[in-house]
Symmetry: D3
Subunit: 245 residues, 6 copies
């Protein structure tokens, strides 16, 4: 099967890192296709960046139609997840949902460690929406997203300090709350002796699971396909109108 990994920000190095993480865990018959958004912010830090990353995400989904069996949105904010599920006929996975669900099989209480304070409450709200509000806490480590791409920064030191605070507070497992941390999971798991869940890897496995089970997004109710209608102006190409013709 082919799984499309879409980086909804426009930084190709992050796409490559996510794709590498995806390939590292993909099953033998799985092909990972990576796509970087061609429009929007270079990183997603907060609601404004996130909303403006969605058109680029949907554009990639649309362009490559029929070329993939499932797609993973490679941002821990689950940017555009609901819109993508409405659009596509194949399963769409988000990192946060996949990761917290995965952690839920391993621990009763766990902590998501993310980057900036502005993302903390956003992710906390996602965690609650996914039903994990009683079981998961979210902590910010004060790391700008792109600093994770910079080997010279102290990003890992800050991240480790925050993980240690989470463990002292009773966390039984850790979820890495940014796509840019995807390469650190195994190493941190070895250091701390608790499960450390990376969202990219978790989402790839969920995508494989759904495809091999013959399951896809329900087109009844919440995620019904977009109704054919005109879209105007700079976004007119997004009209689902051709679906009817």
């Amino acid at each position: 099967m082919r799984i499309l990994i879409i980086n909804p920000n426009t930084t190709a190095s992050m796409t490559e890192k996510a794709a590498a993480a995806a390939r590292a865990v993909a099953a033998s018959g799985t092909e990972i296709i990576a796509a970087t958004s061609s429009m929007g912010p270079v990183s997603i830090e907060g609601h404004y960046d996130g909303a403006l990353a969605i058109p680029g995400l949907l554009h990639e989904l649309k362009e490559r139609q029929a070329g993939y069996d499932a797609a993973v949105i490679a941002c821990f904010d689950d940017t555009g997840l609901e819109a993508a599920r409405s659009f596509a006929d194949v399963p769409i996975l988000g990192l946060c949902e996949s990761a917290v669900v995965t952690a839920g099989f391993l621990a009763q209480r766990f902590t998501v460690v993310t980057t900036l304070e502005r993302s903390r409450v956003l992710i906390d709200n996602l965690v609650r929406r996914y039903g994990m509000g009683d079981r998961a806490k979210v902590r910010a480590s004060d790391i700008p997203v792109l600093e994770l791409e910079n080997a010279a920064s102290d990003a890992i030191g800050k991240l480790r300090a925050e993980i240690e605070r989470a463990l002292a507070d009773g966390a039984e497992a850790i979820v890495l709350g940014c796509a840019g941390m995807t390469d650190l999971a195994r190493q941190l798991q070895a250091i701390y002796g608790v499960p450390v869940v990376d969202g990219v890897a978790a989402a790839v496995k969920q995508a494989e699971a759904l495809v091999s089970l013959g399951l896809s997004t329900s087109k009844r109710g919440s995620y019904a396909s977009p109704l054919p209608k005109p879209f105007v102006g700079a976004l007119s190409a997004f009209s689902p109108a051709l679906k009817i013709g």
Copy 2:
């Protein structure tokens, strides 16, 4: 004060209807400025339409910067509300949040009557996020949004039937769950003898309240202003980069 009413879909007749509803309730010193999105879907029915309405919405906010004291997003899905709050330095109001909060002052239990089934769960999730999950139900009346603009349709008949089911089920007040129903609130309130809340009117009053109280969106945490960074491709104009210069 000046309140900007932005219709995030591109149908000007709906903008006019919302602006009229806004002017009908605005205080004497309030000027209502209406804007129609120039890019995106002609109506917002579901997550795909909603996500693609946000750039047009943010564009209007950006273009008219400094020209308004508060803004109302004239769609009951609260499309782009969090992104708009992050972007703007003035209060931003959504119809759903304003309407359910208003209904909460009037009744212990109430029902939101919206248009299509695909919007029902979306609004139900908003209602829960706003803390009204124990108090409010959401019902769909199977009316396409633009049918509300068509006097010849049976939209009002369907809406009334759904309101009657809500009252039989214990609703103490009704919230009209679509910006396109804004002209019907007074009439329905007279018929049924219970409060009928329209989101446009409710949001205008909340906007006036916040402005006159000297309150605006917190720029600490969740809604911190976008960080200056490049945006690429078709959306490069949305970069908040100039904010630093």
Copy 3:
């Protein structure tokens, strides 16, 4: 329109402070009428005081019937709010409900800072009932209510210390959790650079909003008008019996 501000405790200086705060934010066409309860405790600190403040509150509502378009109960415990809504035919606002709803438009996470520990859980329970349990925390600053009337006390110092603890804990906005703090909001907002919401001001604006929208408490279900029946003894004057005659 005329808005009645009822202080449910019997301390006239607190009524004056609340009335001044109300007038400071009232719209040009709004007349603020202030009333002090004539029976009950001199301040409301905990459940016993609160319950015994309700007859005085209802007495004021009853005496001035037809003389106001909405009423605000000027105590942050929302003392007697449900009874007042059942009694009156006009909108009734409480400070806590108005303030947390207002803060909810401005921030995802916020903190109410109140006076005594005995009021903390009481307010925390209100906050949960209003659907803000996931978003708002409540902190006590160990200030007796009437100490706020005493310029020589260190009430403001204690309050500021508690606000600083709230901000360090992630609060994005502050709600002042006592009617007696109503004069401090603007000053504290200027100091801390986050929204500081005062309940009296918030409630006045909600009252104006409801009146101008033609909305009033639903008389169907929870807040149905009192049934005509005898009341006996010292409280016989509260009988709603005359309503039938």
Copy 4:
């Protein structure tokens, strides 16, 4: 031990019925003392009646101080429960809390059947506050409270019809949601073969339990004793001031 049963409405026949129900289940060493409120409404139907029943209730508690080891408030709305707990140094029990807690030991899902629609949401809110919102539903049977005192009415027929609807909807046990139904529990339990819980009986046993365990209301935090302070006007006798002297 002596348990004071206070009827917070002023109808002596209801007090007698509650006292009889209490005596029927009291342990051999328990003396039941009954008191009828001397001021306020003749029945409690909704928030207005309820609030104005509290002074009479507190008056009885105060008058008989040191004459009882625990008290039961004989109204299913748990009228004045928190104020009474703050005032008294002995355990105070409410019917709703006692009954739903008792039902919780017997069934996973149960239904409270009460009188009027205006009480239904009020009790539903209590049930949620007591943590049973996921397990208990509340239904109204459209019976005015005093009709339960009238043998010629069809009150029992209406009550049975509502119980049958509850059972058809999956209820595993029934709670009778009005003090005036206290004499019907055994009979209905025999008819329907499921536990039928009466609040008066349940509260008496909880009172006995707490007294014999040497437990009383915590005076730390929420239910701290009223602070000594003046009360003015018609309610000046309620001042707790003498407590300091």
Copy 5:
């Protein structure tokens, strides 16, 4: 009446301690019968021990059938509570449920202090299931269960330190979260001046209450009696098959 106290672990000294605590609070007409499980772990610390304590518990219930009017499971994890309720025709009480319900009559906020970290989340989940998640916290004091039987250990010192942390954090009452702490409640209540609830004592009083009210577990729905069917292998004696014959 006869109340059976079953210790689901196999340590007879803990049974004796629980029986003594039960007898100390039992009403004059109540006979306490104590039983120690004859199969399974010597103490219950975590899910594995707990699950393997259930057959021994059910065996005691079954063997003594008709010899008791209610039973108490003397472990704070409420081990096997649902299975026992399904099996038995008499009321079955657990310590955690009984204790938190009892504390709920006395305080708005309280803390359960238990033994090991591995039991903390288990009990926290129980507390949430019993509807007290908003009101009760759970703390572990790092005491192995059997250390409570060892007078030379510092178990009480650790327990007191944890209670003091709970009080500093706003607890209004304390629940002792292990059957082995049953002898300490009165002493700790005297020291700290807040209610200290012991689960064994609380459960005995709830058992007495239910029996004297003529109430027993609903056999409709969740706790319906086991269906007659074969059980095979080492557990064949547990087959409820004879119930039909």
Copy 6:
């Protein structure tokens, strides 16, 4: 990898059906090993059966130690899931948790259709514990578990009728709430055009995912390995004591 499918009831035909369902979805490198419990009930219908199925389940886990990389408990009640996770060093999956999590990726609202009424609330409680209480409903179809093994019964007719009621009530996807329905998922999905999730298949894919990600149950906190201690009587073989030696 090797995945152990343990049927916690003792009916070998159900094991075979589950194993077949598991093999039908297993990845090419996955070997499915099936085990039938050798002690306990022939089917699991309610809490009593469930509790007595756990020793047999744990026995299989223990006997085959080191012979599998993950295990699936093939009962929709998630019988013994927490005990198994505490015991084992490999990932353990339950059907209910796996299925509702899987459905959560596909639909906002869905319904679990199970067998008997006595299992309905049990599963509803699981669904809530897994955080899906706002999104999932549970319906019983009144089918005894073993009737699903009888081709001549009308089990499928009853199941289809219940699915149709769920869809009429707004379900966007269906979860089959019994291991014995595992062979029906694809057929029902084809009929109804919505995702139909089978727990056995879902759990196998989650097991594969966790193993390939190098993740296993956290041994910190809730699921810490059993402490070495004696077990007595008929269950002495379950002592984890040898783990220390």
